[in-house]
Amino acid sequence: MSATVTETSAPRWLGLWPAAMLMLFFLVPFAIMLAVSVAHRDQSGFYEWGFELDSYARFMSGFFAKVMAVSLSVSLSAAAICVAIAFPFTVFLAQMSNRTQTLVLVVLLSVLALSEVIIGFALSTLLSQTAGIGNLFHWLGLIAEPQAYTPSLFALITGLCYIGFPFAVLVLYPPVSRLDPEIVEAARVMGASGPRAFFGVIVPSLRGAIVGAFILVFVFTLGSYLLPQLLGRSEDWTLSVHITDQAVYQSNLPFAAAMSIFLMLVALALVGLASLAGRDRGAAA
């Protein structure tokens, strides 16, 4: 196309500024982190440039394999619970009036935006001995003494579900709300009952979206850093916690960087899988 008369609305040079900013402050930090991950650790708390794979080798130890296993299984359970609750929630939400949808979205966004610190604090209060449901159960006569439910694995998974739920709904919301309501109506007209239409028509036609949402929530909860410390026991600490611990308290930057690179590869692979799942659906539709 000739440039003289048909032109784009934005000039080419407009891309330079964001490209420069993102390269300088996103790609360069990554490159440095990559370099640090193979640097030699200096006991004084810093590092010497070099090339060694010690940090990666250390990571392959049994202890960190266990940490990774804990991280993954905790996040997997939380993601599964989240999506199981969020999917029907989103389907029902999309059938509500625009006004109701807006209201619910405001609540969800507010919860989503809420700092993990505050969610951790709120949940630990709720699960505490003095102010929480232990108190309530005691008052109802269900248990003999008010009891604390935190820290525990249960509290941690509850917390992860709490932060993951709004995220799951918001990831599911676009495909669900674009689903043609006539598909369901057609199923109903042809005699499918409500649950049958739900499992027979809605779930299969959104299978890709569900898998995608599951993986994205999984990655999202995998990154949780504060909740494991606030709600979990030290054996429930996730990789994120260990990365920070190594970086800030153990001053072992190369090791922290190596773990970050590893976590990033896992996350990237999963996000890639999620987008594949999404594409699969596109091809089927």
């Binding site: 500024w17 996103f26 939400l93 405001v106 700092s115 102010a131 709300s177 990033m264």
Partner: protein, 266 residues
């Protein structure tokens, strides 16, 4: 399933989401330094304390400064980026879009460590502007998504008609594209603002010991025992987030902003 049943399900889940916040709001009213529910000797004096005690005022000011500036930076990067990739395609465009979307898609601890090492290397570690830039880059994704959504909604013939009527590239931008994008720019800014305000790990790793933000301060305070003032701050955050998203919902089309493209019943 009937409409009422569906609504009930939605309300139950929402109630579970809101329940911890209600408990927090209630314990914020405790008179003595204790977290009891229901509260004892209800009083608002912890609220007064937040706004008079410099121990909390300084982090509050830090948080607001960082959020205001970082959200502005995020928009300043996202707007030209969205405009640039809008009518173009190719490898460079995809790379640029990917870089704009990546920070938010990865576990934040990765970006946090990256920023931390970066600022240690180039200088700036522990400075408030380092936190601002880090947040700005980290949150670019949000305005990028909202603005791209706005651009997708602009009818091409509006731009063509403006050009036929004598508007050059800059005039089209000024009189057509930017006014139509304004709601999306504002909501992108608001999203970035709220998330910066609540962000912990980057703020902590880039300048946690020198520039305490409210989330960092809360977490530090948690180690020395729970006091109602933590509940007060939490309530403040919840109210602020709800207010901002409420405003977006009131003046913008939140369902569309969240990706619903089917025409909505009202």
């Amino acid at each position: 399933m009937s409409k009422a049943l569906k609504l009930t399900y939605i309300l139950i889940v929402l109630a579970l989401l809101v329940l911890p916040l209600v408990v927090v709001a209630a314990v914020s009213l405790n008179g003595p330094q204790t977290l009891r529910f229901p509260p004892v000797e209800p009083s608002l004096h912890w609220y007064a304390r937040l706004f008079t005690d410099s121990e909390w005022l300084v982090p509050l000011r830090h948080s607001l400064t960082i959020a205001l500036c970082a959200a502005a930076l995020a928009v300043a990067i996202a707007l030209p980026l969205a405009l640039y990739v809008w009518e173009r395609r190719g490898v460079a465009v995809q790379l640029l879009t990917g870089m704009g979307l990546a920070p938010f898609a990865l576990p934040p601890v990765i970006s946090a460590l990256g920023f931390m090492i970066f600022w240690m290397t180039v200088g700036g570690y522990g400075q408030i502007w380092a936190t601002i830039i880090s947040h700005g880059i980290f949150l670019v994704t949000l305005p990028l998504v909202t603005i791209s959504l706005g651009l997708r909604g602009i009818d091409r013939s509006l731009i063509e008609s403006a050009r036929v009527m004598g508007a050059n590239r800059w005039a089209v931008m000024r009189t057509v594209i930017l006014p139509l994008l304004l709601p999306y720019i504002v909501s992108g800014y608001a999203f970035a603002f709220v998330l910066s305000l609540n962000e912990y790990i980057i703020a902590y790793m880039v300048a946690g010991f020198t520039v305490e933000t409210l989330p960092v301060k809360i977490f530090n305070a948690l180690r020395y025992g729970y006091t109602p003032i933590l509940a007060v701050v939490s309530v403040l955050f919840v109210v602020m987030s709800a207010l901002i998203f409420g405003l977006i919902g009131r003046f913008g089309n939140l369902p569309r902003l969240m990706g619903a493209e089917r025409s909505q019943r009202d």
